[in-house]
Amino acid sequence: MNDSHSLELFDVSKRYGTHIALDGVSLEVPQGSIFGLLGPNGAGKTTLIRMVAGITGPDQGSISYFGQPMSSEHVSSLGYLPEERGLYKNMRVGEQAMYFARLRGMGKKEAERELVDWFDRLEVNGWWDKEVADLSKGMAQKIQFIVAVLHKPKFLILDEPLSGFDPINASRIRAEINRLRDEFGTTILLSTHDMSSVDELCDHVALINNGKKILEGPVSSLREKARAGRIELKFRGNLIGFTAALGAGAVLHEASSLGDNMHDVVLGLPPSIPIEKFLKWATSEVDVLSCTPKSVSMDEVFLHAVQAVSNTVSS
């Protein structure tokens, strides 16, 4: 057991009837990180989230929460924003937020103070006595977000937190998520399909598919791994001559013309050739304009990983 982990799953499985929702998944969520949980629909993300949120338990394996076996006593230090969330229609905004705050174990005074603060921060002042039925979708989303974080949870589960927000409010919520981690050290488990928010928010990610974990690690190292030594080179000169001169030393992955005899190529270098040596050679061949490590989006990282898994399955 590692003290620096907020949450650890050991070989967790869950089945519903004959359907295996999770199959021997192990995960480690570092304390104070924003951990992206990714995967296609039906991969088992919701099942995993529900287990962490304390809604269901695993059939097999165990879950540890800040070094202790997960139990019902942890609910007050946990925040949960489910996907496709809603609010009670027959309650007013303030009273509803108070209800959830008290369910999480907050006192009345404390909850009220925090609410006023959050209403201020997300610019929803004056909504206290609003009927929920009068709220727009975006407004309701903000209230739901506040309800999930109000009690300053140590561990926060956000399922698609940015869906339904306009770009301005999405960036505001994104800033709040970052602030929760930076100011309060909150660990955040973030499930999403939106890769751009993974790129912007997450420190760590895990990818699950068909109930199995197929990838896990810090975003930077996953990117580095997916880059697989590829570099992007822009130069002025003869593309055909350059390619011929490359020989067996490096692999040409992509090439595009930038006009005016300028070209943009992506090359895969074998580990035996250090980048300095390659650059020395290249400048002797062509007029090199720039040379950078190939940037890999998380989209590519996951497409690549999912394809790799399905390839091994089919072969």
Partner: protein, 446 residues
């Protein structure tokens, strides 16, 4: 504060402060009393109309001629034909023919023939049927006049002495075992209780189902059950909403009682009571409302019912019956995603409730029949049937069995419903079949 209580508090508070609840709770008894008052008022006002009745006495049995006035007769016994607000008599020795009767001011014409002293029958002719009140007044008045005549001709007693000797028998029915009296009228009161029981179980059971569906369809349930166990959430919801119903029952009972007392005071002070007594020919001359109720053949039963016992058992059977059906409805709500999908599951669940409501009509006729006994033991019908049985009196062990069977069934049902609820509440995207729901019962706790 216990989380369970926080949930319960929300379920209760958000409902009792709703405008619709407040209005129906406050206006319910007023509306009921209003309807009853309207019926009484319409009944009274139809006799407000002045009826003129012509008594045709060919042989002057009950009348004598006014000297020098030929056709016009006067009753030999004027006190037998008193002046009434709604009835006036005229006497004549000749009947009117149809045409002149239709043109006349008379509502009815009664022809006495020679045989009336023996047959005690007379013919009442009318164009449009005379009100019941008028008919019974005519019957009573004629009867007394003839009685007077008979007494005079056949006994040495004077009429007033005879009147004192005369006895009128009223039957008070009594069950030999339970010693309960006036079962027929009391069972009507039990019937009213059972109608309310049906109504409350139905209305608040639906509240539970709708509440469950709301929480499921907007995913609030996920947030709540990450804090409270699903079974506890279901329990808090059922108890919270059950208490809303109980609140309404309590307020209705209290308001009805106050209205009853208020009406009594009004009746006493406004002189309405004296009018009422006069009209029903009551022998008891009292201006006390309770005495009036007690002496009234129909209303007297109101004071013979043990209201404390009835209301106490009503509360018990309501809570237990409600818990039984509400947990069933909660399980149904958890299995579906919207109300319209619940119909096919609701039907079988509601059949016993409907059944007990419908057979009640037979049960008030014979509260001791086999059907009644079965229905009062069977837990899905007992809350409703028992109301009728309790009102007419039922052995204590009978109530005990019914209550115990009901409580055990409630415990079992809550457990089973909790299992279906726990699984259903997190299941989206498909309408489960009954077989699938049965399979959920096998899932282990997690």
């Amino acid at each position: 504060m216990n989380r369970w209580l926080i949930v319960l508090g929300r379920e209760y508070k958000t409902r009792v402060r709703k405008r619709a609840f407040i209005i129906s709770t406050l206006l319910g008894p007023l509306l009921m009393v209003g309807v009853i008052a309207a019926i009484v008022f319409i009944g009274l006002s139809s006799t407000e109309m002045n009826s003129k009745v012509l008594i045709v006495d060919h042989n002057k049995i009950l009348t004598y001629s006014m000297p020098g006035e030929g056709d016009i007769l006067l009753p030999s016994c004027p006190e037998c034909f008193p002046e009434r607000r709604f009835l006036e008599y005229r006497f004549s020795s000749n009947a009117l023919d149809t045409e002149s009767f239709l043109e006349s001011e008379f509502t009815a014409m009664v022809e006495l023939d020679d045989g009336i002293m023996q047959s005690a029958k007379a013919l009442l002719k009318y164009e449009s049927a005379a009100p019941m009140k008028v008919q019974s007044a005519v019957k009573r008045d004629l009867g007394e006049a003839i009685e007077r005549l008979r007494v005079k001709s056949e006994s040495t007693l004077d009429y007033d002495t005879y009147k004192k000797l005369k006895v009128r028998i009223g039957l008070v029915t009594q069950n030999i075992v339970t010693e309960d009296r006036n079962v027929e009228n009391k069972s009507a009161i039990g019937f009213v209780f059972s109608v309310f029981m049906f109504m409350f179980i139905m209305i608040y059971g639906m509240h539970v189902m709708r509440g469950v569906i709301e929480e499921k369809s907007n995913r609030i349930v996920e947030v709540v059950i990450s804090v409270v166990k699903p079974e506890h959430l279901m329990g808090a919801k059922i108890v919270g909403i059950g208490l809303v119903g109980l609140t309404q029952i309590a307020v209705w009972s209290l308001l009805s009682w106050l209205l009853f007392l208020g009406f009594g005071v009004y009746a006493e002070t406004s002189g309405m009571l004296i009018d009422l007594m006069g009209e029903q020919g009551s022998q008891v001359a009292s201006t006390d409302f309770m005495t009036f109720i007690q002496s009234n053949e129909k209303l007297g039963v109101l004071l013979q019912v043990n209201w404390g016992m009835m209301l106490g058992w009503c509360a018990f059977f309501y809570l237990a019956g409600f818990a039984l059906y509400a947990s069933l409805f909660a399980a149904i709500g958890a299995a579906v995603e919207q109300e319209s999908d619940a119909q096919y599951l609701l039907m079988p669940a509601m059949i016993p409730l409907m059944f007990s409501y419908v057979v009640n009509v037979f049960i008030i006729e014979s509260p001791d029949s086999m059907l009644a006994t079965f229905c009062s033991f069977f837990p899905f019908t007992s809350p409703i049937t028992m109301m009728v049985k309790l009102s007419v009196g039922v052995p204590w062990w009978h109530v005990a069995i019914s209550a115990i069977v009901l409580i055990l069934t409630v415990l079992l049902m809550v457990k089973l419903a909790g299992k279906i609820y726990r699984t259903g509440i997190l299941m989206y995207g498909k309408k489960p079949s009954l077989r699938e729901m049965a399979r959920w019962l096998m899932y282990k706790n997690s």
